[in-house]
């Protein structure tokens, strides 16, 4: 297969038509580093890295400034309804439509209306996933895109529950994305007041004398402290009482309240704090007396939670599991946690400590790619900056690999370690997806509006990214297998299935 590869390289060079510019020769160490900071190198990453140098590249990735998307991608995204939708209005309209449908007599008309509404919700969630994936594949702000996934996963909601699919795009865009490199407390408050979370973990139903402790428990166990942090069942119940009245009001009238409570009422978008549903009796949390009254109790409780040493440790470790190693060195985690505590949860500052650590450098190339990393990095390698037109195949691949966007049912989110993704059944499934990604008819260039586009041909994996960034990492065994390939698709499949490609 050597001839085919060489031929491909010539084709790439030959049809580039670009001025004879010196190719940047990234070292093996540079490539390994970039493959961890980004979803996987593409030519934009390489030239940005060459231009800025390592320190400048890291600064720009940590800045949290939204780097402009490539114009063709920005245009695709801007055409999506989900970009222009208002969550509160959507929820109000959806609720009204549900109400109308429920009032219909049973029969085909009712069934059809229900189905049509459901399909619109599913389509909207798909659009959100499309936007998410296009950014992951093409945004120059690669670290930020990984963090959007990381925090969405940390504050997981599932599109299958209730009206979440109508809200998920807004949740990602407004509750998660603006805060991924900000202060941790902002993420907690933004998710706590978002209708997607309030519905997913049932706090919308949590009211005085009708306490539902689902969200309160997960807020401590999964979002802030971790399970072994020493809180008790009484703390869970007290936090649930603190959270009573935190709920959703999508377009309804403001409830009539006695004058004493009116000043305590809050509303923003579809989020509502309704004092009439709040439990005003006295409470303690983790030994602190809760002052309040009303929503101030919630803010105080969140302050208490995010300043607990357990929270700093829990969040620092989880970031390190995602970015460093399945079992990250405790010394590194301790330094990250200390930074978290000192900076009041400044995520960018914690990450900076992590990226600068020798433990980070030592870990490069050793982290198994979860399916999202696997698929996104494959697309970045195969198509570089060329925009795909159809994300349905990508969504389907992630479904097949059991890591669908917005698809984790339970609030713990997807596991971040190799053991969760590298079982025998998952490896064979992964190779099958590699084969699909390597094929000329994966459907990525068939426009979603059904218009006709020129056939795409095989993805050119033996391209300049491959020679610059992947080939230097390949073992003799992998090279031998590639050498034995009898077709372009097989060569592509083997490359995407190789151990070197499957670690970052």
């Amino acid at each position: 297969m050597a001839a085919l590869v060489a031929g491909a390289a010539i084709t790439v060079a030959g049809c580039a038509g670009a001025p004879a510019r010196r190719e940047f020769a990234a070292s093996r160490a540079d490539v390994l580093w970039l493959n961890r900071i980004t979803y996987g190198v593409n030519s934009q990453t390489l030239s940005d890295y060459e231009w800025r140098g390592r320190a400048g590249f890291l600064d720009s990735q940590l800045s949290g400034r939204d780097a402009p998307l490539p114009p063709a991608i920005a245009t695709q995204i801007n055409l999506l309804d989900v970009v222009h939708a208002d969550a509160a209005q959507l929820l109000a309209a959806t609720n009204a439509e549900y109400k109308r449908i429920n009032a219909l007599a049973d029969g085909p008309e009712k069934e059809q209306a229900r189905k049509a509404l459901s399909e619109r919700g599913t389509a909207l969630a798909y659009q959100a996933a499309r936007r998410d994936l296009l950014r992951a594949i093409y945004s120059p702000a690669q670290l930020q895109e990984q963090l959007v996934w990381f925090w969405l996963n940390h504050f997981n909601v599932a599109q299958s529950k209730g009206s979440v699919r109508w809200l998920i795009g807004d949740y990602e865009e407004h509750a998660i994305r603006p805060h991924v490199l900000g202060h941790f407390r902002e993420l907690v408050m933004a998710t706590l007041t978002h209708p997607a979370m309030l519905q997913y973990l049932d706090n919308a139903q949590n009211a005085a004398n009708h306490v539902n402790e689902n969200y309160a428990r997960e807020l401590m166990e999964l979002h802030t402290l971790g399970v072994a942090a020493g809180y008790t069942q009484a703390d869970v119940q007290n936090l649930a009482r603190i959270l009573t009245g935190v709920g959703i009001n999508a377009g309804g009238a403001q409830p009539k309240l006695p004058p004493a409570w009116q000043a305590l009422y809050r509303r923003e978008g579809a989020f509502e704090f309704n004092p009439a549903r709040h439990d005003f009796t006295s409470k303690t949390l983790l030994g602190h007396a809760i002052r309040g009254p009303g929503f101030a109790e919630v803010e105080q409780a969140v302050d208490i939670l995010v300043r607990e040493p357990a929270c700093a440790q829990f969040i620092a470790r989880k970031l390190a599991v995602y970015f460093v190693a399945d079992d990250p060195p405790p010394g590194l985690v301790a330094r990250m946690a200390a930074t978290f505590a000192r900076t009041d949860g400044d995520i960018a500052a914690v990450l900076r400590v992590m990226f600068a650590a020798p433990e980070f450098s030592a870990s490069l190339g050793g982290k198994f790619k979860d399916p999202v990393h696997f698929v996104v990095s494959a697309l970045r390698l195969a198509y570089d900056t060329r925009p795909i037109l159809n994300t349905h195949p990508v969504v389907n691949w992630l479904n097949a690999l059991a890591e669908p966007i917005y698809g984790h049912q339970t609030p713990d989110g997807y596991a971040l370690t190799e053991a969760a993704w590298a079982s025998s059944g998952q490896m064979s499934r992964r190779f099958e997806i590699a084969r699909a990604m390597a094929s000329p008819n994966a459907g990525l260039f068939e426009p979603e509006d059904g218009s006709i586009a020129p056939s795409a041909g095989f993805p050119q994996l033996s391209n300049r990214i491959y020679f610059a960034a992947l080939e230097p990492l390949l073992s003799e065994r992998t090279k031998n297998a590639l050498e034995a390939a009898t077709s372009q698709q097989e060569w592509n499949t083997l490359l995407l299935s190789s151990p070197e490609f499957n670690y970052r």
Binding site: D202, Q205, N206, A207, N209, H210, V211, N212, E213, N214, R217, E221, L222, V227, A228, Q233, V236, A400, A402, Q409, T410, D412, A415, A419, A420, W421, A422, S423, S424, G425, Q426, M427, S428, R429, F431, E432, R435, S475, R477, T478, N480, A481, A484, A485, E490, T493, L494, S497, S498, P499
Partner: protein
């Protein structure tokens, strides 16, 4: 004996022929490891209901007036001869949910099904994830978690040749251990993507890599499942298959466990019913119906081997005995386990019990745990495989096993 020496390997087409010889003639598989056929015909399937299923609306404590007080909106009506589709009285205290009546009722009457109420763990975190993990690991309570192995993983070691498999997307924690245990999801399976040459190129890249056996097993297992399901594919092409969802998955599991595997694991999600769980009908009833019909398909697919099979259904905890403010239930404690098998002494409610009143609830909210999961499973393992006390100690350290006389 090392883990690798006795593990079940995936198979090529000659596998079934090999099975006949394996007892006398150790055989090398593709990756060169020793393959040994199981010596005992006994089969065991663990079904894990993730999310903490509401056992009180499955096995209804209908003699307790407090049940009806505590669940004004979601309680299931007492069994009544005039409503043949209602709850099915199993004895003077307990009734089976209407949703499981048609599927599990006959199994119970044939003594192939028993229930163990007040079963569970002494983990009090009421966290799904913590409690699932601690059950899957199966360590003595209050021991430091050592994620080195789960109890099914240790059982594999103790049994020596058990042909284990997990019917899941990912390998469950309970199968963690020194042996490499294969897993395969039986939802949506098609033709294998790779021929033998391609499979060997793929495995070649992982030679001496720590994922080597996962890669080799995965590719082999995919072939094997496709072979085993060939009849089904044929039938499907003729439009003869109408099972869906878990029932279809369970039927496939049954075929694989009938022919090749002896120790299985599967999990079923969707039990975390905090809101509007329903009563005789509704969300929980639908889940119960789906699961129950699946287990019946499994038992049928096992054929004659059903008589040497035991299935245990567990969940991480029960739910609050009182309904919450949203016609649902929150995380509780004691659960009800199910034991099924073609030759068990079922048709009864086993294990220690007490009358359910407000005063007998644990922490004034949940079922207490009177039958520890390690003791219950340990007792079943002892009878099923005749394990010695020393062997059982390796599976469940410091356990005092409970003989429920089900096997």
């Amino acid at each position: 004996m090392t883990g690798k020496a006795h593990r079940q390997k995936g198979a090529s087409i000659q596998r079934r022929d090999l099975l006949r010889w394996a007892a006398v003639l150790p055989t090398l598989t593709l990756t060169g490891r020793l393959y040994a056929a199981p010596t005992s015909p006994a089969r065991f399937l663990l079904v894990f209901l993730r999310g903490g299923y509401d056992c009180a609306n499955f096995l209804i404590p209908y003699s307790s007036s407090y049940y009806y007080e505590a669940r004004p909106h979601i309680a299931i009506a007492r069994p009544d001869a005039s409503t043949p589709a209602g709850a099915l009285a199993l004895d003077a205290d307990w009734a089976l949910a209407p949703a499981a009546r048609a599927s599990l009722g006959p199994l119970y009457q044939q003594r192939q099904l028993a229930f163990v109420p007040f079963a569970g763990t002494d983990d009090l975190s009421r966290s799904h994830f913590e409690t699932q993990d601690s059950i899957e690991l199966g360590e003595p309570s209050r021991s430091q978690h050592d994620f080195g192995s789960g109890f099914m993983g240790r059982l594999v070691q103790v049994l020596g040749s058990s042909a284990p498999i997990a019917f899941t997307d990912a390998l469950p924690l309970t199968f963690k251990g020194p042996a490499d245990i294969p897993n395969v999801s039986l939802r949506g399976i098609g033709k294998p993507a790779f021929d033998e040459r391609q499979a060997s190129l793929l495995t070649g890249m992982y030679a001496e890599h720590h994922l080597e056996s996962a890669v080799a097993d995965g590719l082999e297992l995919r072939q094997e499942v496709a072979l085993a399901m060939a009849d089904e594919m044929l039938a499907a092409n003729r439009g003869a298959i109408n099972t869906k969802g878990f029932a279809l998955e369970a039927e496939r599991m049954g075929k694989l466990m009938r022919d090749q595997y002896r120790l299985g694991f599967v999990d079923v999600g969707g039990w975390d019913t905090h809101v509007n769980e329903g009563g005789a009908t509704g969300a929980l009833a639908n889940n119960i119906d789906n699961l129950s019909r699946g287990l019946v398909s499994f038992s049928q697919a096992m054929g004659e081997q059903w008589r040497s099979t035991v299935v245990v259904v567990v969940s991480e905890f029960g739910r609050t005995f009182r309904e919450n403010g949203n016609h649902g239930t929150d995380h509780g404690h004691g659960s009800v386990y199910w034991v099924l098998g073609g030759a068990i002494s079922g048709g009864r409610i086993a294990g220690e019990q007490l009358a359910i009143q407000r005063a007998t609830l644990f922490q004034d909210r949940d079922y207490p745990v009177l039958n520890d999961y390690r003791a219950v499973l340990g007792g079943l393992f002892r009878s099923l495989w005749g394990l010695s006390a020393a062997s059982l100690e390796r599976v469940f350290p410091q356990v005092r096993s409970l003989d429920l006389k089900l096997i």
